[in-house]
């Protein structure tokens, strides 16, 4: 077990097999390589991507397939090599979530998903060639108002 200091969850213990290594870094966070995924106990829609190197660095993620039908893309050979991906079934996909309290929206980045190889826990954020938005609204105030008035 490894002890990890986190701002949100305090001191946690994780198994070594739970360490995720980013072979292709999160854009803008190139200094951080090791993360782990924490399931939120109270909520089954969200996952936390917690840095092992910086206690205060965590992201919220969803599994986009829970929310979006027909989310499909291809991975470049280069990216597959980086993650040493052999089988399609070894892939787990997450997308980062932005929660904007002030403007009351939740959005997720479909253009740059987080891909994890479950076999070796190598991961990367890939920019897709496919035409997906960086900000796909899962929920926003405007939509809610539309639902009310409609």
């Amino acid at each position: 077990m490894i002890e990890v200091e986190t701002t949100k969850f305090g001191l946690i213990e994780i198994e070594e097999e739970k360490v995720i290594e980013f072979e292709q870094k999160i854009l803008g966070f190139e200094d951080y390589t090791e993360f782990t995924i924490i399931d939120n106990l109270e909520d089954d829609s969200f996952y936390w991507l917690q840095s092992l190197e910086e206690p205060g660095l965590s992201f919220i993620m969803i599994n986009p397939l829970d929310f979006i039908e027909d989310y499909q893309f291809s991975l470049t050979d280069k990216f597959q090599h980086k993650l040493d991906l052999q089988e399609e079934s070894d892939i787990i996909i997450y997308t980062l979530v932005v929660i904007d309290k002030k403007n009351e929206y939740i959005a997720t980045n479909l253009k740059a998903p987080i891909i994890i190889n479950v076999q070796n826990r190598k991961a990367g954020q890939i920019i897709l060639n496919e035409d997906y938005p960086t900000r796909h609204y899962l929920f926003n105030k405007t939509e809610r108002e539309m639902e009310v008035s409609g």
């Binding site: 803008g28 966070f29 992201f59 929310f67 280069k78 309290k101 740059a112 920019i127 960086t134 929920f139």
Partner: protein, 85 residues
């Protein structure tokens, strides 16, 4: 940085395998044609900047999820599952 001048219809080749051709030039816009294998990813620089910005915003810095929002999201996720079944 290497600086080259090219005219319309002229090309440069990078690393023997990526070809970038100037297709058209008008006032302040250049149209480029790029030939490269599928393993080369090509994006406008703005896409990188946009993703960096979204990533910055995605850093979680609050104590807890706003409950009304996460509740909404939960319902949506369930809806999605119903469709599959």
């Amino acid at each position: 940085m290497l600086v080259l001048s090219r005219k319309e219809e002229e090309s440069i080749i990078i690393d023997d395998e990526i070809k970038i051709k100037v297709l058209a030039i008008d006032n302040n816009r250049v149209q480029l044609g790029i030939e490269a294998s599928d393993s080369v990813s090509i994006h406008r620089e703005e896409v990188y900047q946009e993703i960096q910005r979204e990533n910055q915003q995605a850093v979680y810095d609050q104590d807890e999820l706003p409950s009304n929002l996460s509740g909404m999201l939960k319902k949506k996720a369930k809806k999605g599952q119903d469709k599959e079944n």
